[in-house]
Amino acid sequence: MTTATRTQADQGTTTRGADEAMREDVVRVLSADGELVSDAPELDDALVVDLYRAMARARACDLRAAALRDEGRIGAYDGSAGEEATTIGSTLALRDDDWIFPTHREPTVALARGGSVEAFFHHLFGNALDGVKGRQMPGGFAARSLRIASASAPVGTQLTHAVGLAWAARIRKDDVVALAHFGERATSSGPFHNAMNFAGVFKTPAVMLCRNSNWPQVSETETITDTFAEKGIAYGVPGVRCDGNDPLAVLRVVRHAVARAARGEGTTLVEALAHPLDGPEGARLDPLVRLRNYLGLRGHWSDAAQAELDESLQQEIDQAVAAASAAPTPPRTTMFDDVFVTLPGHLRDQRDA
């Protein structure tokens, strides 16, 4: 699914147009109506169709998950409906070899990397078939086979993990990049400071992707800087801002950052300005609609294709939810596994008491 090769990414970002776009205040590729507003880098239409399909799949799963939460059938679930430009756009800017360090909001990135819808819902139900064995809340997923780290609640911790993994890849001379997701408030956390500073000093091939989803409100409580991107200056890490509701802008900016990282030039801080779906501009700027319009204008999408996609997604999701809600709860004894690789005596005692 994630077909980007490093060379493609390079091409996409080393053209004159792309580099100039990076110098814009806020990188934008599509207008609200889906028209190209900036000199776009070469974009493979098939890739954009893939991107659109992956975003639609993520949206459908997120919405169903929210409904299950509201019905009390699963625990607290946040998700990132409306933020697919960032979550999925960035995923398709990576190669499969690259790593993703998500927060609890991005379990849908697994879907864009080949994860099954059924696995997604098994996890939300925390059942015996859940990949993390029912050990975490819906946001806390992990998918090692997809090179997706374990998401967890403590804000910011994954940032240093991403930098550490990228650093390790650099030491091993592997062509691997790590991308970390985080919200704008995480910039106040300790790990942000640590991750950025280590990223600067060790020129790690990492991409720090900040979702500023408060936009266009200013997060007065977190900082008095005008942007979050400029925080990179303290660490010698360049910051780039992009329209977080524009999938092609995110794709372009993240590809650029990935290529830069792969060239050994170090980490980029990306600030994606995302209007929330339920905000005043949300509906108008919905990234899904925007990308569908773009594809429609280019003749790569139709109402029939949409109907077919909706239909097949609903079917897939219905089946997955049915399977996940029917699956058993993890057996009590599994509670004692995986604390250590082998069960120590005191846990055997506690399990068997």
Binding site: G75, G140, T221, V339, L347
Partner: protein, 324 residues
């Protein structure tokens, strides 16, 4: 007396003390305009304004670290940490600075800070919205540790904590934030820090517990009675310094002990209580002291009700201890 739940009682205490003492400030993530994740600080921002009820950046280390400076200046900061699970970014400030400030300055300075934070499981919160880290603060000399189980104690202990010259970790059992209701005296009163409460008297087995597990212990004690076992149930209320006198007096009477807490077993407060009883009442012990606690695993999600030391796990320990 008005009926209140824990949230209301704590809110009442904060409001009362902020009116009485203008050195008191509340700070934390979303404690101001939003009124806190659990609405414990609701209304305070409107009543006292943004300089005394302060929304801070998302940084527990920053919240607690700046509270130290406020305390040095003579204020009475009452920071909130959204969940006890998120207190660890501030752990260095708490154990290396707050706990040692009076000692290391030869008594010149104090750090009278009350750190409020919800603890405990039972709300489908998984690892990071469920933990009970009290022993990680007790082991560190210099901190008082409080955990109320009733609205009345919540209000009275919080007022006593804010007026205390020592730093206090104030753990609020979130599972009973709204479920525990009761009469709460109006206006000003305090519950003394360091005093346990015998909630139920009995002759056969002493049950020592605190926080949300008090209700599980009481439930188990009621069921044990049906089996002919008469339990005395002690609510510690203050976890450190321990009310050793009340514990020892009860064990002197019963000779049998079960300690119940949510925190993992090993090196938990239960271990300390058992070791202390060995030191203070060894010859009176008629059965091995038992611990019914959370397991030595991270706090699970789906299986949390298997993890918690609920009544059905406490009851057999009571009966077996009585019949040992």
């Amino acid at each position: 007396m008005p009926q209140m739940n824990m949230v209301q009682a704590i809110n009442d205490a904060l409001r009362l003390e902020m009116e009485r003492d203008d050195r008191v400030v509340v700070l934390g993530e979303d404690v101001g305009k939003v009124g806190g994740v659990f609405r414990v600080t609701a209304g305070l921002f409107d009543a006292f304004g943004g300089e005394r009820v302060i929304d801070t950046p998302l940084s527990e280390g920053g919240i607690i670290g700046t509270a130290v400076g406020m305390a040095l200046y003579g204020m009475r900061p009452v920071p909130e940490i959204q969940f006890a699970d998120f207190i660890f970014p501030a752990y260095d400030q708490i154990v290396s600075e707050i706990a040692k400030y009076r000692y290391r300055s030869g008594g010149q300075y104090g750090c009278p800070i009350v750190i409020r934070t919800p603890v405990g499981g039972g709300i489908r919160g998984g690892h990071y919205h469920s933990q009970s880290p009290e022993s990680q603060f007790i082991h560190v000399a210099g901190l008082k540790v409080v955990c109320p189980a009733t609205p009345e104690d919540a209000k009275g202990l919080l007022l006593a904590s804010i007026r205390d010259e020592d730093p206090v970790m104030f753990f609020e059992p979130k599972r009973i934030y709204r479920a525990a209701r009761g009469e709460v005296p109006e206006g000003d009163f305090t519950v003394e820090i360091g005093k346990a409460r015998v909630v139920r008297e009995g002759e056969d087995v002493t049950v020592i517990t605190y926080g949300a597990m008090l209700y599980e212990a009481l439930d188990a004690a009621a069921k044990a009675e049906a089996e002919g076992v008469d339990c005395e149930v002690i609510d510690l209320r203050t976890l450190w310094p321990l009310d050793v006198d009340t514990i020892v007096a009860s064990v002197e009477k019963t000779g049998r002990v079960v300690v119940v807490h949510e925190a993992p077993k090993s090196c938990g407060l239960g271990a300390e209580i058992v070791a202390l009883i060995n030191e203070k009442a060894f010859l009176r012990l008629e059965a091995p002291p038992r611990r019914v606690t959370g397991f030595d695993t991270p706090f699970p999600y789906t299986l949390e009700m298997e993890y918690l030391p609920l009544s059905h796990r406490i009851l057999p320990a009571l009966v077996e201890t009585a019949r040992f």
